[in-house]
Every structure is written in structure tokens, then in C-alpha cells.
């Protein structure tokens, strides 16, 4: 398991990659509170998380609306 701080930093970088260099999100944020987090962004986000953390998330994750916090949990669940 990578250190929490390192994990959070990598997660932040994924969000910056998808939503822009200027974005700042907290665990409570979800598609309704982040501008541009639509269905296409969700797909790009899941692909980027998979590539960054070397995990394969379930297909449902490509479509489901989740908070940043639950996405983190999902990545941790599917990591080693």
C-alpha cells in the first residue's frame, strides 16, 4: 500500500489531468459540485485512475455517479 499522502497527491493529479490544472476537489465533491464532471469526464476519469494506479475498476464505475471519496475507496479496494 502506498502512503496516504502519496496516494492523495496522485489522486489530485488525476483530477487535474481530467478537469484542468486549476481544479481543487475534496472527498465530498461529486459530479454535481465539479464543473465539467459529466458522463464523458467520468469515463476519462476512470481510465486515468486505472492507468495511474494500475487497477481495473468494474464497468459500473464508468457510468455511476460517485463522490471523490468513494472513488478513492473503489481504487483502494481494487488495488493490491
Amino acid at each position: 500500500m502506498i502512503a496516504d499522502e502519496q496516494f492523495d497527491q496522485a489522486f489530485r493529479e488525476v483530477f487535474e489531468e481530467i478537469f484542468g490544472w486549476d481544479v481543487e476537489v475534496t472527498d465530498a465533491d461529486d459530479p454535481s459540485s465539479v464543473e465539467g464532471w459529466d458522463s464523458l469526464a467520468q469515463i476519462r476519469l476512470v481510465h486515468e485512475l486505472e492507468s495511474r494506479f494500475g487497477v481495473r475498476l468494474p464497468d459500473d464505475a464508468l457510468l455511476e455517479r460517485q463522490s471523490v471519496g468513494s472513488l478513492k475507496a473503489l481504487v483502494l479496494d481494487h488495488g493490491e
Binding site: 459529466d38 458522463s39 464523458l40 467520468q42
Partner: protein, 492 residues
Amino acid sequence: MASERRELRFTTSDVDRFAAASHDVNPLHVDPAFARVTPFGGCVVHGALVAIGMLGALPAAERAGIRALRAWFAGPVIPDAAALVAAERSRKAPDVWELKLTARGKQVARVLAAPDAARIAPGLEPPAPAAGAVRWPMRRTPATPSLSTGAVTAGEYSTDDDLVALAPDGLHRTLLDGLAWCSYVVGMEIPGLHSLLSAFTLASDPGPDPDRPAAAFAIELRDHDERTGQLSIRASLSEASGASLAVARIEAFARTPIEGPDADALGVRAHAPAPARRGTAVVIGASRGFGAALSLALAARGYDVHGTHSAPAGPLSGPVTLHRLDARDAAGMTRLAADIGPIDGVVLNAALSPLSMGLTAEAASDLSAYVATSLELGAVPLGALLAAVTDFVVVCSSSALSAPPRDWPHYVAAKAALEGLASWVAETYPELRTVILRPPAMRTEMTNTPTGRIAPVATETIATWVADRLADGELPAGLTTWEPGTVTAQER
């Protein structure tokens, strides 16, 4: 810092000129017949041209210094439709600008622009070198390549000077060439014909010399996700001397063309005796997708099927009489009713492709225009045919009414309006069997998007389920709602 806002509108002529100058002549942008049968329902503006137009919102002095861009595209920009661009300095670095484009009540594109790549695009890497790779001449028609990860393609590339005339004043030519080239890479090379550009990061040469013509490029497919068709591409653009002009990371989606309905799965038997005749059915919107599948399924159960369609006929063939007729053509529909005579059943399936939309006060008129047109696609044929119908009316709605998709408020409202019409029919013609059909997302060209291709149901499955129930005679008169969301192939 106050942001600058301005209206941005691209004409069809702008799109054609950009296609000619960039050599991205992908038919999604320039061929209305091709674009009509995509999820967008018509031509869309090149993403790179959108980004170029957005840079016009920057103060001229800042614009001239831009050398690196990141762009994200969340929805199509339609020619001749108004969009609004806002430019703002980044909170993190004052020399970086963030530009947002809003259309149909939704953010459809975002651009970060900076004077150097280090700020917004660190770590961009060129494609792996491919020793001895053939350098292909520029394409005149889009490729349909196999999408093998790791494959490197090299080719010639240059832009025409009209590109400068299309762009806001002062943009550096190398940046402009790089933008046009990103468009060319996706629209003409990888994934080529069936492509959607979703994002790119572009770092152009930081030097001041704008007079360095592009000559060659190399691209490497880094990643291809089969679930959604997402591709990640590394690309580099260079001068004839080999000196680098730009490096890019491009993200795109490859769309898989939808094949016509499977006649076998629908019960059509080429050499079997004709089934007992049940009567005449008219399917409005019959040449592709669910309409085509249901037409074949009804024909296989003994109906003489007349299908109408407005776009050039799709792959439907077989025992269906097709009429090319816009569902909103009142005179044409009235003539069709007179030609056919008594009708047992009618299926209202014509629909408009729903472009993603948000609900804002400004976008409400776009929403209501969509609803009005969608309603006409049902009301005109119904008005022309209803007096001749003796058995059933099927109104194709959608499971979207039970689970409204976030980006489709107009679609949900339009289907609700059609369901209202069905209720009126059931009340006014109580002897008819009136059905509101709410099928799940099916695999059709209308839903052939990165999200739409995840777990859709085959049109044949739903068409067979519906045709069996219409033909078995057990459906009572009056209003029935069918929501075959959990139908599986075994259940049919």
C-alpha cells in the same frame, strides 16, 4: 479578476475552410449525410477550430505569446449555433489563461493556454522512434486503421495559409499548425473515420520565428480501452529538417459502426413459407436502429410493414416497404395514409439525436425547440394515420423517463410529451390497444457514444419482445406501458 465574455459562432463555411486548410476532411465535419447518422445527428465543428476560436477571447497581447495549450471537449459545437466563451486568468499562475465555452446550457469545451509548456504540460513525450517507418503522403480520405497499441505511424503534414485568416489575429503560426495537426491526426489517421476528439495537450516550439512550415509527423498509439473505445496517442510534428515544431498527447474515442439488424434473430426466415397475414403496420422511423429491427420482427410475424425514414436508407432490407418521407411532412404523411388504406397498427419511432444539454434560463429555448420538434415527429404521423388505424398504436418512449440522464433534460421532456399524446389517444380511441414503450438504452447509432456503448441491449432483443406481444392478441384495449428493461435473450 473579471472575465471577458464573448459570443462565438462558427459557420458552415468556417468549418469547410478549416477542413481544407488543416486537411482534416473527416465527414463528421463536412458531409451532412454521413453526420446525420451519428449520435450528433448532423455536422459538428472541429474541436481544434473550437479551441482556435476560443483563443480569440484572450487579450491580443497575451494571445500572441501563447505556445502551449490543453483542451478538453465535453460536447459537440454545432455550426451556426451560438456559444459563449469566457476567459479568466488562472488562480494558480497569472500567465496561464483558462477559457470555457458554454453552449446549450452546458460547458462543452475548456482550454488552458500558457506561454510555455512547463506550466501546464510538463512531461510531454514524443512517440517512440520507429526506424525505417514509411512516411505516408497526406491523406485525402480518413483512415480506418486497426488500433494496435504501440503502432507508430509517420506521415507528411502541412497546413494552408487560409488557416491564419480563420484564426484570431496574432496567434503564433506554429501553435496554429499544431492545433490543425491534432485535428488531422484524430480525424484522418487514428482513429480516423469513426473518431471523436476528446482532449489534447499541445506544446509548440517556444521560439519566436513563426515562419517554420510543418512537414512531417509521427504518432504512436499508447493505449486503447476496448470498453469505451478511448485512445491515448503521442504525437510529434517537425520541420523538413527534422527540427521539432510541436509535441502532443491526444485523447480520442474510436466509435464502432453499428451493423444493421440481424434478420435471423428477429425471426425472418429467407426460405420459410410466408407467415399467416395479420394485417398492415406502419413504422415511422424505420430504416435504422430499433425501427428497422421492429419492422423486420413485425414482418416476420405476418404484418405487411410500411416504414418511413428521412435520412438516406440504412442497412434495412427484406420484407418491408420503405417510404422516404420526413415524419413532420404533413402533406406527405396524408398522401401515405391515402395510399396505404386501412392500417392495423402504427409505431411512432422517429426521434431526434439528443445532443447533451443543461437546463439554464438561456438554454430553455433550445430545450423547448427540441421538445417541439420531437413532438411533431409523433403528432404529424398520428394525425395523418390515426383515423385509419384499427388495432394498435405504439409510442416509443424511453426508460430515460424512469432514470433521467443528467445531460438529456430535453430528451426526457420530449418523451414525456409523447407519452402524454399516447394517453390522449387511449382515452379518445378506447377500442385501440395503445402502448407506451419504454425500452432500455439500445445499441444504435443514436447511442453510439463512449458512454452509450457500455452494456446496451441489442435492438433485436427488444424488437422481438415487442412484436411477439403485439402479435399474440392478448394485449387488451386501452393504455399499457411496457418497460422491458430486464428482458434477456432467454426470456423472449
